[in-house]
Amino acid sequence: MAISDVAEYAHLTDEEVEQLGRELDAIRAEVEESRGPADAAYIRRVIRAQRLMMVASRVVMAVSAHDDRTRKPGAIAGGTVLGLAKILENMEIGHNVMHGQWDWMNDPEIHSSNWEWDTAQPAEQWKHSHNYIHHQFTNVLGHDNDVGYGVLRMAREQKWTPVSLGQPVYNALLAGLFQWGVALHDLDLERIRKMEKDPKELRRQLKQIYKKGSRQALKDYVVYPAMAGKHWRTTLAANAWANFMRNMWSYVIIFCGHFPDGALHFTEEELEDETRAEWYLRQILGAANFKGGPLLHVMSGNLGFQIEHHLFPDLPSNRYAEISVKVRALCEKYDIPYTTGPLPVQYGQALRTIMKLSLPNGMTSSNSPNPPPPEQENMIPLDRRRKSESERPTRREETGSWSRTARGAS
C-alpha cells in the first residue's frame, strides 16, 4: 500500500520530522566541510585503476588471440577484466561523477557537466531521468519512472493487465540487455505508448541515443574484433561477455535499491507541501541498502548505501560508509525503519515481487509493511498515469545538491 503522508506513517510529529531534517543537514555540512585531498586522491585512484584495467583487458585479448593455446584463456580473462572495468566505470565513477559528487574539486576533467560514461545512454538524458526525476520524486507513483521503468509492474497500485503475466520474461530481457534498457530510460516508454510524448523531443532524444549507442556498439562489436583479424569471433564474444557481465551486475544492484521488501511507495498526495525534512524522510523510507565488504561497495558504486545516496546524492561516494553509521543511529533514535540485508536476500525479495506482481493482486499477498489506512475524505480515486513535465510540481530548491552554497541562507 502506497503512503500518502510520510510523517504519519513514521508516527512522527511535524516538529520531530523537522528536527530529523536538521540533524541530517548537520551530517551533510560536516562532510562538505571536510572534503579534501584524501577524497580527491580516492577518485583519481579509482579512475586510474579503472583505465589501467581497461587497457590491460584489451591488450590481453589482442595479444592472446594470435596463439591457439592462449586464445581461449586470454579471451576469458580479458573479457572478465573488461567487464569489471565497465562495472567500475558505470557504478563508482560515471554514476557518481554525473551526480556532481566530485564537482567541488573544480576539475573540468572530473565534472558532472561534461562526463560521458561507458554505456549506451547519453549522459545528458541520464542526468534528467535519474538525477532529477528519480531523485526528486523517488518512489512516488505516477512520477518516478524507476518504479518498474515503464516495463515492469513493481507496485501493487500499478494496474494489472494480462501483459503483466510476461514479467518473468521481461525481467530476464531487461537484466541481460540492461545497458539498452537504460539507454531508453529518459524516453519514458509509458508516455510514448499513450502517444503523449512530443514527437519533436522524441526524435531529438532518439538521435542522441543512436549516436552514442552506435559509437559504443562499434567499439566493442566492430573495431576491436576487426583488430583481431581472423580471430574476430573470439574478441567479439569476449566483449559481449564483458557487456553482459556489466549488464547483469548493474541490473542486480539497481534492483536492490528500491524493490526489496521495506522500500515503500508513495502517492502523489505526499508531494503536496512536502517540506525538505519530509523529503529526507521519504528518501529513507523509499530506499534499501545491502551489506558487504569494501570491495563489494566500490564495485556497486557504493549503492549498497542507497539510503545515504538518496539523502545526499551529491556527496562523495567514499564517504557514504561513515555517513551510514550516523544515519542508522538517527533512524534508531526516531524509530524509523532502515531497510538493509545481505545482497542475495535483497535481490531475492525484489525478484519475488516481480514474480508475484505478474499476477493480479488477489492471487498474491504483499510482503511490504502496511501503512495506516488513509482517512475517509482522502479516498478520491487516484490518477496513476505518468505525468508529463508540465504536470509535475515545480522542483523544490532544497533537494539534491541544494545546500552547496544555499546553506548559509537557510
Binding site: R51, L52, N106, K219, R395, S401, R404
Partner: protein, 363 residues
C-alpha cells in the same frame, strides 16, 4: 613538430577515439605521461626559482597542445590543486616567447591574503602537474617596436614588462631603441628581477632603469607632475604600465588629461565589466533542476552559485574558460563587450555573461 606531422597526428588521434570512446586517447596516454593530453592544457613544474623573499619564478614545461607563440606581455591562466581542489589564477609570462622553447616561466609574488599565490611561491614541488590556459591579453609590444618606449612598473607588475625587455634584448632593440624603465618597489630587497635589470642596463646603451624605493621616497606623484622629473619626454613615448590599481588609475587620468590616452597601454589584473549589462531574468539549470532570478549585472556563474549549483569556475575574469557551459536556450550577454550569445547549445563563459531574459544552461 612540422605542420604535416601535426595533421597526421590529429588523424591518428581521431581514429583512436573509436577505441577509447567515450574517452579520448589522451585519457589513457596520461597514464604513461601526465603531459600527454590536450584535453586540458597541462604543464609540469620543472623548478621554482626564488627571486626575493616572497616572490619566485616558476618554470613550467607545457604538455601537448601548447604553442610557444605567446606575445611578450601576455598572461597565462594556471590552475593548481590545493587541498584537492583546483584554483585558477592568471599571471604574466615572464619568459620571452621562443618557438623552439620547451618551458615557460611565470613570476609570482606571494600576497598576504592570497593562498594560491603563497602556495605557488612556497608550496609547489618540482614535478607537480598544473593546468594551463592559453596565453591571452593585449598588453603587448607592436612589431616592430616604436623608437622610444617608457615602462612604468609597480611591484610584481614587472613580470609582463620583463618578458618584453627580454624580447627587446634578444632582438637587439635595447641598443637601437630608447627605452626608459621606471620601477617602483617598497624596498631594494623586494625588487623582483633587480639584478637582471641592472645587468641589462650595464650592457645596453639604449636602456635606462630607474629604481624607486617607495618606503623611503614615497610613490611617484603623477598627478602632481612628478613624471616630468622622471622622464621629461613622456609625452613623446609609447608607454606601458603595470602595477597596482590606484597607480594605473592615476596614470590613466594623467594621460587622458594630456589627450594622449592612445599612447598608454595598461595591464590590470582585475575584471572590469564595462559592458551595458543584460536585462536580467531567470536562469534555469537544466540538469540540477534549479533556477535563479537575477538582475542584468549578475553573471550566470554568480546566479548558479546563489542557487546552489556546483558551477565550474576558474579565473572569474573571462580568461581561462573553465566555467564554460552550454547555453541550451535563451540569450546571455558578454559584460565585457556587450556581445550577445543566443544560438541553441552554444558554449558560453558563465563568469562574464549575464542573462538577457530567461535562459537555460546544461548543468
Amino acid at each position: 613538430m612540422a605542420n604535416g606531422g601535426t595533421l597526421t597526428w590529429e588523424k591518428v588521434r581521431r581514429a583512436g577515439r573509436h577505441l577509447t570512446t567515450p574517452l579520448l586517447p589522451d585519457d589513457y596516454l596520461t597514464l604513461l605521461n601526465p603531459l600527454w593530453s590536450s584535453r586540458e592544457l597541462r604543464g609540469r613544474v620543472e623548478k621554482v626559482v626564488p627571486e626575493t623573499d616572497d616572490a619566485a619564478t616558476i618554470v613550467i614545461r607545457p604538455g601537448w597542445g601548447w604553442r610557444f607563440e605567446h606575445h611578450p606581455g601576455q598572461y597565462v591562466g594556471i590552475g593548481v590543486d590545493v587541498g584537492g581542489k583546483f584554483h585558477w589564477r592568471s599571471y604574466s609570462v615572464s619568459s620571452p616567447p621562443k618557438r623552439t622553447g620547451r618551458t615557460l616561466a611565470i613570476t609570482v609574488r606571494a600576497m598576504p591574503e592570497g593562498f594560491v599565490s603563497s602556495h605557488l611561491v612556497n608550496g609547489l614541488e618540482p614535478g607537480t602537474i598544473v593546468r594551463l590556459a592559453t596565453p591571452a591579453g593585449d598588453f603587448t609590444l607592436p612589431e616592430p617596436p616604436p623608437q622610444r618606449l617608457l615602462f612604468l612598473v609597480g611591484g610584481s607588475g614587472v613580470t609582463p614588462v620583463m618578458s618584453m625587455l627580454r624580447t627587446l634584448d634578444r632582438r637587439g632593440h635595447l641598443d637601437d631603441r630608447d627605452v626608459v624603465v621606471h620601477y617602483s618597489s617598497t624596498s631594494r630587497e623586494r625588487m623582483i628581477f633587480r639584478d637582471e635589470l641592472e645587468s641589462l642596463e650595464a650592457r645596453h646603451a639604449g636602456l635606462a632603469v630607474q629604481q624607486r624605493y617607495t618606503d623611503d621616497e614615497g610613490i611617484l606623484d603623477v598627478p602632481g607632475g612628478a613624471l616630468d622629473g622622471v622622464c621629461a619626454d613622456w609625452r613623446e613615448r609609447e608607454t606601458w604600465a603595470c602595477g597596482p590599481g590606484p597607480m594605473l588609475d592615476a596614470l590613466e587620468a594623467h594621460w587622458t588629461e594630456a589627450g594622449l590616452e592612445e599612447r598608454l597601454h595598461l595591464e590590470r589584473f582585475s575584471l572590469d565589466l564595462g559592458g551595458e549589462g543584460g536585462e536580467g531574468g531567470t536562469v534555469y539549470f537544466q540538469n540540477s533542476g534549479k533556477e535563479a532570478t537575477v538582475d542584468g549585472a549578475t553573471t550566470v556563474l554568480e546566479a548558479g552559485e546563489s542557487a546552489g549549483v556546483g558551477m565550474p569556475y576558474g579565473c572569474r575574469m573571462g580568461i581561462c574558460h573553465t566555467c564554460t557551459l552550454t547555453l541550451v536556450k535563451g540569450r546571455v550577454r558578454d559584460l565585457r563587450t556587450g556581445e550577445d550569445f543566443d544560438q541553441p547549445n552554444e558554449p558560453v563563459q558563465t563568469c562574464v555573461t549575464a542573462p538577457v531574459g530567461d535562459c537555460t544552461l546544461n548543468i
